[in-house]
């Protein structure tokens, strides 16, 4: 136990003190904040061209007011009788264009033309088209004798709402889409964590081998203790980094949103149309405690299992380039878990296939995370976690065997057959 602690402390402290770690921990949230801040800024402000633009228009067969067409920075004025001077003005960029609607029958707008249309962007053209079509639609309705109020009476809103019976026996919103999103986000975090920090464990084992430190280490500490110390030490590094990122991100995003909210006009119109209240109340209705417990359990369990496999790989190979042949088969179950998560779990989160794959330890961290918001039975969670944990202990034991032999084998690149021999040998 003591040597696990000594190894853990060393693995943790050397990494935490490392310059790259400090830089990455502080820089990553700043970079992410800059990225999103920049994206939001350019989406709302930067892209628009704010100079006012005027367009001539004439619609001889249609009673159309100029202010019915205006949008954004575009205003429309009736066309002049002299078409030559209008075209000159458009050519010299004084005016932005000339819209002619020569259709007699506005059921089909096929003789509507916009001269100088190249100064319009795709979205602007779409807006103009929508305006025209809406006006035409209203015009036709009026001709048919249907008033605005009649029309509003016939409008249908809403749709089927998915409900569920919660733990207290009450009926509540089930928020399936939101749950899927939350589950998927958690699976993504687990996936990334496993790869970033799992490969850190691998490099740590590899460093000891390539720098020939390992014999001294193995003579001082049991490989099992060494492995466990490494895996837990790096896990703590990862958690420290994650925690720092979360705190820094919240601080930065908080600062950014404050900066943006003080300039309320810059928030695009669409943002206000989002069902913000629905999302917030949806979040509140999620079984948060359950989700977080499942997430933490399978996040740690998944990392522990995979990093013990990565550690074995690190102790078997001689150089980074040899890693690939072992990495692929190891990362396949994770990728597979994702595919399962997308296809099966989204369709029936508590179906048979979903249950099976959330029991298999190599896929369970991903699949269970995605299922977490969908009221997974407690027995399944406990069962799956126990299987995961047992597999982890078994893998550390197995990796320690590979480590004991593998680290003393220099020179040739090991094959799968060699690994099996080493396991039996030690």
């Amino acid at each position: 136990m003591r040597s696990i602690w000594v190894v853990l402390k060393k693995e943790y402290l050397t990494r935490i003190k490392n310059k790259t770690f400090i830089i990455m921990t502080f820089l990553a949230p700043v970079l992410i904040a800059l990225f999103y801040g920049g994206a939001i800024y350019f989406a709302t402000v930067g892209a628009e061209d704010h100079s006012a633009k005027t367009v001539y228009f004439n619609a001889p067969y249609w009673d159309l007011e100029s202010d019915e067409l205006a949008f954004d920075d575009y205003t429309f004025i009736p066309a002049l009788p002299d078409s030559k001077s209008m075209l000159d003005e458009i050519e010299s960029k004084k005016m932005s264009g000339w819209l002619q609607i020569n259709d007699k029958d506005i059921h089909v707008l096929d003789s509507a033309e916009l001269i100088g249309g190249s100064s319009f962007s795709v979205t602007e053209l779409q807006k103009l088209n929508n305006h025209l079509k809406t006006r035409a639609h209203e015009y036709l309705l009026m001709e048919a004798g249907i008033s605005d109020s009649t029309l509003r009476l016939t409008e249908v809103r809403g749709g089927v709402k998915a409900l569920e019976i919660d733990n207290e026996g009450d009926i509540a919103n089930s928020n399936t889409t939101l749950k899927s999103a939350v589950g998927f986000a958690m699976a993504m975090i687990i996936y990334m964590f496993i790869f970033i920090y799992g490969s850190m464990v691998m490099r740590s084992a590899m460093e000891e081998k390539t720098n020939r430190i390992v014999e001294v280490i193995v003579s001082s500490v049991k490989p099992f203790d060494l492995m466990l110390g490494k895996i837990l030490g790096v896990a703590l590094v990862g958690l420290t980094q994650f925690f720092a990122w979360i705190v820094l991100s919240i601080a930065l995003l908080g600062g950014l949103s404050y900066a943006f909210s003080s300039d309320a006009n810059s928030i695009p119109q669409e943002a206000n149309n989002l069902p913000v209240h629905e999302i917030i109340s949806g979040f509140q209705s999620l079984p948060f405690v359950d989700i977080i417990v499942v997430f933490v359990l399978f996040f740690l369990g998944g990392y522990l299992l995979y990093s013990s496999i990565f550690a074995a790989i690190g102790s078997a190979v001689n150089q980074e380039t040899d890693v690939q042949q072992f990495m692929l088969p190891v990362s396949l179950p994770l990728v597979f878990g994702f595919i399962i998560a997308q296809s099966v779990v989204f369709q029936s989160p508590n179906g048979h296939l979903a249950k099976v794959f959330s029991m298999i330890p190599l896929t369970s961290p991903i699949v269970m995370a995605v299922r977490a918001p969908f009221d997974v039975p407690l027995t399944e969670i406990i069962g799956s976690f126990v299987v995961l944990l047992l597999t982890f202990v078994f893998m550390v034991w197995l990796s320690a065997k590979i480590y004991r032999v593998g680290v003393l084998m220099y020179g040739k690149k090991p094959s799968w057959k060699d690994l099996w021999r080493w396991i039996r040998q030690s």
């Binding site: 003591r2 040597s3 000594v6 190894v7 060393k10 402290l13 050397t14 490392n18 460093e207 720098n211 020939r212 430190i213 014999e215 001294v216 280490i217 193995v218 003579s219 001082s220 500490v221 049991k222 004991r404 003393l408 220099y410 021999r421 030690s426």
Partner: protein, 302 residues
Amino acid sequence: MFADLSMLKVSHVYKYFDDQCVNNDICLELKQGEIFGLLGPNGAGKTTLMRMLATVTTPDRGDIFIQGESLSSKHVPLIGYMPEERGLYRKMSVVDQLLYFAELKGLSRSQAKENVKKWLHQLDIVHWADKKMEELSKGMAQKIQFISTILHEPKFLILDEPFSGFDPVNADMVKDLIIKLKNEGTTILFSTHRMDNVEELCDRLAIIHEGRKVLDGTIEEVRRNHFKNEYDLNFSEPISIPEDIKFRKLEQSKSFSIRVTLNKEESYQDLLDWAYKTKKLKAFGEYLPTMHEIFVNKVSNR
């Protein structure tokens, strides 16, 4: 003063790699406070044996006892091991590195700190303490490597080729430290193929060849056991050996001296009589083969 206490006993130890027997029925016994040399050509199985003694691997058959107890991981604090393949963490500072190794060997943090300080002082390298290993020269790293091996004051020190890879200055430092540690009661087992080190340092030795122990004993015993009835004679002036001499001439390296090998039935007394009569004899003595000769003889004649 430690003469009768057994530090290490290796009893009929076998180790196989696949089907190849790397250690075949090895028996050794080391007394407390002695320096024991393990000799053998490359691939003889020295490193394999030392790894088992250092608890890196375990024997396939046979037993190893340390201070009378069956060797296990609980004896790690007793043992110091410097493998032939050595290295240190490149990104760690000297002091962190030494503390880590000392703590792994079971020292408390405060004890580890005290020992690190002591050794850095003793070797006059306190100013390196905060340097990272990658900033040190190879010779400096070698010093740190040796300190890391003895930092926890092991009772039993295993050194695999301690002089290989070390520059002459550091090799001398290691030699001096080995003698110092021996005088403090440490039992030391080291492997080498440099015979000058063996004759200089070892109380006893064993030669291993193709996995088997082919001999062991004190240097004196071993050399005496390999005495081949050879005598060295030195003369005050050049001497030509008469044709009719009945003794078999072995070699006459210089005209002043000859080496003679006697048959079983011949007595050295007759040789001495003959030499005496020349009236030029300055010195007469038996010739004991050097460790080098014995070594070469043992590993090539099998």
